[in-house]
């Protein structure tokens, strides 16, 4: 991978934060279609999430450590994409995706379940032994999530705000490598968050493009910068399905190269609700 092109990729971002935003003037009717499309996107991802979780948990129950390890990151991606909606169900989000830091007793806490509890077993303890109850619980929770989301009326503010929220996720826990500290598969989650954010931006872009083309241009360039940087760490540059190298392989310099465009995206996308009058 070439450092020169990495730096180039990271150098296109820029932000004029001192600008005074214009008063939003968006007809609420125009939000209906992108919200509906977003719901389809979420349901499609949930569908995939359920089927991948089935394979993942079956591998654990079958005691197939290697297969379970291999399926861990590709399964999580679907959840990471739709976090703005998934997080609306706080109880499920805690049991599916909490980290040991969320519990005073850490890994030993009996309430600590879900992906990161399994991650600790699969990657730190290197075993599936005794993890069947966690696997079964995860499957139950994921099925529960799917049925709850199907019945959900998507709140527009939550959907639009999700674009920024996903970038905040990246800035807070992905760049530091603390999300997947045992599997070091952070780049998968990173890509999932970025994909989810970009999807929301793309859906609502037509509503802001005319009024603020510079904003759209800047956001697109920064997404492209992040995408280019991520591509350097894929096993196959143009194939996200092929997966990523371990986050341990990402140098300090390159981690910093992520911070610039991610922070500018977080600042910019935080104005999307304002631009749409939400």
């Amino acid at each position: 991978m070439s450092h020169r092109s990495l730096f180039f990729a990271a150098s296109v971002f820029g932000l004029m934060v001192l600008q005074t935003p214009a008063q939003a003037d968006v007809d609420p009717e125009t939000l209906v279609e992108p919200i509906a499309e977003y719901k389809l996107y979420v349901l499609d991802n949930l569908d995939q999430f359920v089927s991948h979780t089935e394979k993942f948990t079956q591998a654990i129950e079958a005691g197939d450590l290697e297969r379970a390890q291999a399926l861990y990151a590709p399964t999580r991606v679907y959840y990471e994409r739709i976090e703005p909606i998934a997080e609306l169900f706080a109880d499920l989000d805690a049991s599916i995706d909490a980290r040991e830091d969320d519990y005073e007793n850490g890994v030993e806490d009996p309430d600590f379940t879900g992906f990161h509890r399994l991650e600790y077993g699969l990657f730190k303890e290197q075993t599936t032994q005794g993890f069947t109850p966690y696997a079964k619980q995860l499957m139950t929770d994921v099925n529960d999530l799917e049925s709850r989301v199907q019945d959900l009326t998507f709140p527009p503010a939550q959907v639009v705000g999700g674009a920024a929220a996903l970038m905040e996720e990246v800035a807070a826990t992905k760049v530091s490598g603390e999300e997947d500290r045992y599997s070091h598969t952070d780049l998968w989650d990173f890509q999932g968050n970025v994909d989810g954010s970009q999807k929301i931006f793309e859906l609502f872009k037509p509503l802001v493009a005319e009024e603020d083309p510079a904003f759209v241009d800047r956001v697109e360039k920064n997404f492209a910068a992040v995408e280019d940087t991520l591509a350097h760490y894929r096993h196959e540059t143009n194939n996200p399905e092929a997966g990523f190298v371990s986050y341990e392989k990402v140098s300090e310099t390159d981690r910093r190269a992520f911070v610039g465009p991610v922070t500018v995206l977080a600042e910019d996308l935080a104005t999307l609700r304002g631009k749409l009058g939400l």
């Binding site: 990271a10 820029g14 005074t20 939003a24 910093r256 610039g260 922070t263 609700r273």
Partner: protein
């Protein structure tokens, strides 16, 4: 157990509110700060709101000029709080660096003079953190921008313009440097009368520089506030070892002395753009305070070479009297390895090694062993890094004080010359000096 509080002696500094406010009001008026208005409006307040009513200060309108040949925050009298924030520059080219320097200049000019933030449509994030309200007072804020040696690498084409002595800090024998608290591209020294003013300034700068700056490490500090003293010069503030610190600083009212000791410019080997700047050294020096508090007073005083209570040199007199080493060649009065004697032996020709100290005390929490993590946020300025800090610190290597201190972080930086007026920006001379025609 429940009697514990009754057995605890009352804090001797607890005054009743009226006396406290009157005293402060008088002090404020004496200093010409017009502090009586708030004193009148507050002393009679007895409502329950008093519990959470904002503490008042007579000094929020103090301000230091931003524009000038030199940056503020060096010769400026040190206020009660300060922090050093060291960042890496994320900008990847000269245009990005220039944008960063222009934004920093614009923000510092605003923050240090105070003003009102623009209002925004509430569906947008607000323009400011708001922690000081919609209108901010200067509160003696200064922000001082300095560059580390790493900025002069290949990224910005500045390599040929690096100040002669600027280098990456290397560890001294007693150091235990932690990589996460060392070095960096750009340092911000932020000082103000109150801690929240420094925090506000930092959050404003972070908010306005996304994609350009990333905080690498930060250390906050304070100095103890004293009641007004009739003594001139004012006694030096004390460090967390209980000793007065900074006594031997060169006289900052002496312009010629400052030009030779603090401001870079006279040395023909220094790049011309650096004229009016200064070398900044930052060191995070942990103090082992529990152990220090168990050391006998005589040993503490011998280690420093000063009386703890008055700050006077062991050779006699008062704080600002020059120590007498001439009649003490074998160190019977002031040990030869006393801190102040090593740091400044007062020998002919040593004047050129003098440095300007402007430190703060820090307190961070608790170590795994239950001991307090606190010490000195050491900040010094000098015209020549080699002749200044590096020479002095080499002389201090092995001093008895080392048993009680451990430097764990810091870095060397070059403080940019000032922005001379509102059309100028910090770092302009550096960028101009390195422009290439393509």
């Amino acid at each position: 157990m429940s009697d514990l509080s009754d057995n605890t002696p009352r804090c001797p500094f607890t005054l009743d509110r009226r006396r406290f406010l009157q005293g402060l009001g008088a002090a404020g008026a004496a200093a010409g700060l017009g502090g009586s208005a708030w004193a009148e409006s507050r002393t009679d307040a007895t409502s329950s709101h008093d519990v959470t009513g904002a503490p008042v200060s007579t000094t929020t309108q103090q301000s230091h000029p931003f524009h000038g040949r030199h940056q503020q925050g060096i010769l400026t009298p040190r206020p009660a709080t300060g922090m050093v924030v060291v960042c890496d520059v994320l900008a990847r080219d000269r245009a990005g660096l220039e944008r960063l320097l222009r934004i920093l200049t614009e923000r510092i000019a605003f923050l240090t003079q105070g003003g009102t933030y623009p209002k925004r449509d509430p569906s947008y994030p607000p323009a400011d953190s708001g922690i000081l309200g919609p209108t901010i007072a200067p509160d003696a804020l200064t922000v001082t921008v300095s560059l580390g040696a790493s900025v002069f690498d290949e990224r910005f084409g500045l390599a040929d313009a690096k100040p002669k002595h600027l280098q990456r800090m290397t560890g001294f024998p007693n150091d235990a440097l932690e990589p996460t608290r060392c070095h960096g591209d750009l340092s911000l020294q932020i000082c103000a009368n109150t801690h929240d003013t420094t925090i506000h300034a930092l959050r404003d700068i972070i908010k306005q520089t996304p994609g350009l700056l990333m905080v690498r490490w930060k250390q906050e500090g304070t100095v103890p506030v004293m009641p007004p003293s009739p003594d001139t010069p004012t006694p030096s503030a004390r460090n967390y070892l209980g000793f007065r610190d900074g006594t031997a600083n060169p006289n900052t009212d002496d312009d010629a002395l400052m030009d030779s000791l603090i401001w870079t410019g006279d040395d023909p080997d220094e790049p011309n753009w650096a004229r009016g700047g200064s070398y900044q050294v930052v060191r995070i020096i942990r103090n082992f305070v529990e152990r220090w508090d168990r050391a006998q007073l005589a040993e503490q005083e011998a280690i420093f070479g000063r009386r703890k209570e008055s700050g006077a040199p062991l050779s006699g007199g008062s704080e600002y009297d020059k120590p007498n080493y001439n009649d003490d060649a074998d160190g019977k009065i002031t040990p030869l390895d006393a801190h102040i004697r090593l740091a400044n032996p007062r020998t002919p020709g040593f004047e050129k090694h003098r440095i300007l100290r402007r430190p703060f005390n820090y307190s961070n929490g608790v170590e795994a062993n239950g001991q307090l993590d606190m010490g000195l946020l050491f900040i010094v300025y000098q015209a020549d890094l080699e002749a200044g800090f590096i020479t002095v610190q080499k002389r201090l290597n092995g001093e008895p004080l080392e048993e009680y201190i451990k430097p764990v972080g810091g870095g060397y930086f070059f403080t940019l010359p000032g922005a001379i007026d509102e059309h100028d920006f910090l770092g302009r001379t550096l960028l101009e000096a390195t422009e290439t025609d393509v």
